[in-house]
């Protein structure tokens, strides 16, 4: 869906030119820096290896969020509803990477949409809310993530979200509507007040057009007659008539919401019907094991006594500057070779073997002595 009349700085390079650029000859001539480092002299978004995107529209649906339409550079292979991209921008000289779920339907061709809510302590989300404008070029990865609708659409779907967690389920809803999906879809969304619901107008329009779609907006801090209020409960599920035991459920939102849904679905023995997306910094309590031993950073020659904390943070405290991105175990930018020792993944709780392997240091704590190729 290219908009006519707009300049197309990201138009794909014609294929013979592209073949030539990708040939081994040019790489050999451009060694050791690679052909991209010369292409960017011609145009900042010309790139064979680094996926980029240009902001083509910016709008504000609520006071503390910004909705951006992005046009990815060539090499974009599409996405499945519910997936996220890694967005990279430079703030004060530092490249920052965060994961954002796409909010557009799968049918969106050549341009995608994300909505970013400004969090008080969020460097990137605040920056985007203040500075996003059309023409801005950002780094944008290929779509990733397992939080997706099955190719064969389920007959009954329950989509639950809260706050900015609306984006991946919005993508699912838009996809289903564009497909004229005939099954029952219940869309249950929690926001503080009506003013905080990002896609409020579009949701109303969808509900009016698609009789099989039931949209329920709950305001947690605002009691309105005839409307559900407060946090999610069994009463809410009963009131909206969502037969959650028979539906495929997709949840994205605040930790409290996710914890409640997980516990309730486990109680009912229907975890296999539940799909959860959670963009949360790892929170964990230190076990007794792990707080002893040492961490060797083999390449830099640093060695510290382990304080049992995340390896990325221990490395930074030792004065190292390891690569990192999301710091929550998603983007794998911090992935680094563990050459000896065991670690515990704080997200999964799994304790690794002692063999050499790649680990995500932003979500790994040492269990005893560990050696990293850092």
């Amino acid at each position: 869906m290219m908009l006519p009349g707009l300049p197309t700085p990201l138009a794909p390079l014609r294929s013979p030119a592209r073949r030539l650029l990708r040939s081994g000859l040019l790489e050999a001539l451009a060694a050791p820096h690679g052909i991209d480092r010369y292409l960017e002299l011609v145009h900042p978004t010309r790139s064979l290896r680094d996926p980029l995107a240009e902001l083509i529209a910016v709008r504000r649906q609520t006071v503390d969020s910004v909705t951006m339409t992005l046009r990815p550079s060539d090499g974009w292979h599409g996405f499945r509803a519910g997936q996220f991209i890694r967005l990279t921008i430079e703030i004060a000289g530092v490249l920052e990477t965060r994961c954002y779920s796409l909010a557009c339907g799968e049918q969106a061709d050549g341009q995608v949409e994300i909505t970013v809510k400004a969090h008080p302590a969020g460097k990137v989300s605040r920056y985007l809310n203040e500075h996003a404008r059309p023409g801005m070029v950002v780094g944008m990865s290929a779509a990733d993530g397992d939080f997706v609708l099955p190719r064969e659409r389920p007959e009954r779907l329950l989509l639950i979200s809260s706050g900015s967690g609306i984006t991946p389920v919005m993508s699912m809803l838009r996809t289903l509507c564009a497909e004229d999906h005939g099954g029952t879809v219940t869309f249950l969304h929690y926001a503080r007040t009506g003013e905080d619901v990002v896609y409020r107008r579009e949701l109303a329009a969808i509900a009016a057009r698609h009789p099989n779609v039931r949209i329920v907006l709950v305001h947690t801090r605002e009691a309105t007659a005839g409307r559900l209020a407060g946090h999610i409960s069994r009463a809410h599920l009963r009131r909206i008539g969502a037969d959650h035991r028979r539906a495929h459920t997709y949840v994205c939102g605040a930790p409290g919401l996710i914890a409640w849904v997980r516990a309730t679905w486990a109680e009912d023995g229907i975890e296999q019907l539940l799909h959860v997306e959670s963009f949360l910094p790892p929170s964990f309590t230190l076990g007794d094991a792990g707080a002893e031993g040492s961490v060797d950073f083999a390449r830099s020659g640093e060695r510290v006594l382990s304080d049992g904390g995340l390896l990325l943070e221990q490395a930074e405290r030792a004065g190292l500057c390891p690569q990192f991105g999301c710091r929550m175990g998603i983007c794998r930018i911090c992935t680094c070779r563990k050459t000896a020792g065991s670690v515990r993944n704080v997200l999964s709780g799994e304790i690794s073997g002692a063999e050499e392997e790649d680990i995500q240091i932003c979500v790994s704590v040492p269990v005893g002595d560990v050696e990293l190729a850092l």
Binding site: P32, H33, R37, G93, V94, G301
Partner: protein, 356 residues
Amino acid sequence: MYYATTPRLSKEQADAFGRELDAIRRHVLADLGERDADYIRDVIRAQRRLEVTGRGLLFFSFIPPAWLGGVAALSLSKILDNMEIGHNVMHGQYDWMNDPELNGRRFEWDNACPADHWRHSHNYLHHTYTNVVGKDRDVGYGVLRMSEDQPWNLYYLGNPLYAALLAIFFQYGVALHDLELDRVIAGETTLDEKRDQLRAIGHKVGRQTLKDYVLFPLLSGPSAPLVLAGNASANLVRNLWAFTTIFCGHFPDGTVQFTEEETTEETHGQWYYRQLLGSADLTGGKLFHILSGNLSHQIEHHLFPDLPSHRYAEIAVEVREICRRYGLPYNAGPLRKQFGSVVRKIARLALPKGEA
């Protein structure tokens, strides 16, 4: 070896000296931001433009001014790439930017030496054991006698000749540096143990040779010999320039070399003290500093090897002032004077007593 005139610091003074330098470091770290990112990106953009210009002009090398211009642009490109960009990025000076292209552990430069070997021999050995005879392999590169503390033998009669050869083939000297061939010859290690390193050097030298001495000449058709000569000249210019500025960093008159005994049980403050006494600055204009990779601020670089190099000029004012208060020498002079004294030292140390 300390000179009789070398001012010494008590442990307490060295601690206080170290704390003042730490404060400078903290201050710069807290201030890193857009200015530093813009600076290094500007330098890289200039270098890539010079590279394209140089290669482009050399396609027309049958016109003599184009050949000369091409060699000049390509020489500048290689100098910037190796010195202000490569050397400094590989120190991790821009790691805080979190940009994979500017990451000290991944960066590769336009030089025969594999970046990984450089990071070991330079970042680790040279910067940790600066000027410690027997540990810092940059003292003479395993080839030259650069300190009275290195015992003389007949081999060193060729000191000036070896220095001239090293200057001409400097990039290959640097490429072989981490192999420690002198230790292989002395029987302390074997080439077999160095097989992986040899393979990496072979691969890198191969790629560089392919680019400069095969592909670009062949692509230019009938001008191939001229392009080959042009590329060789650019490499030579970079070699001579790098050798000159680097040797001015630690060997001019007044710089101190140390023995291992003198540096055992060294404190943080004493490490700073050794870096200061073992290094010398070059004075000059802004362009000169950039082309030297800011190694003209060798003292500041050795005190703070991982701070962005364009900050050294700003820091130098404070470092000089601190040195003055502690009564420590601050060795700085123009290139002509400093390099002259290095050349005289190379010649002098060819003879047993170091007397000319």
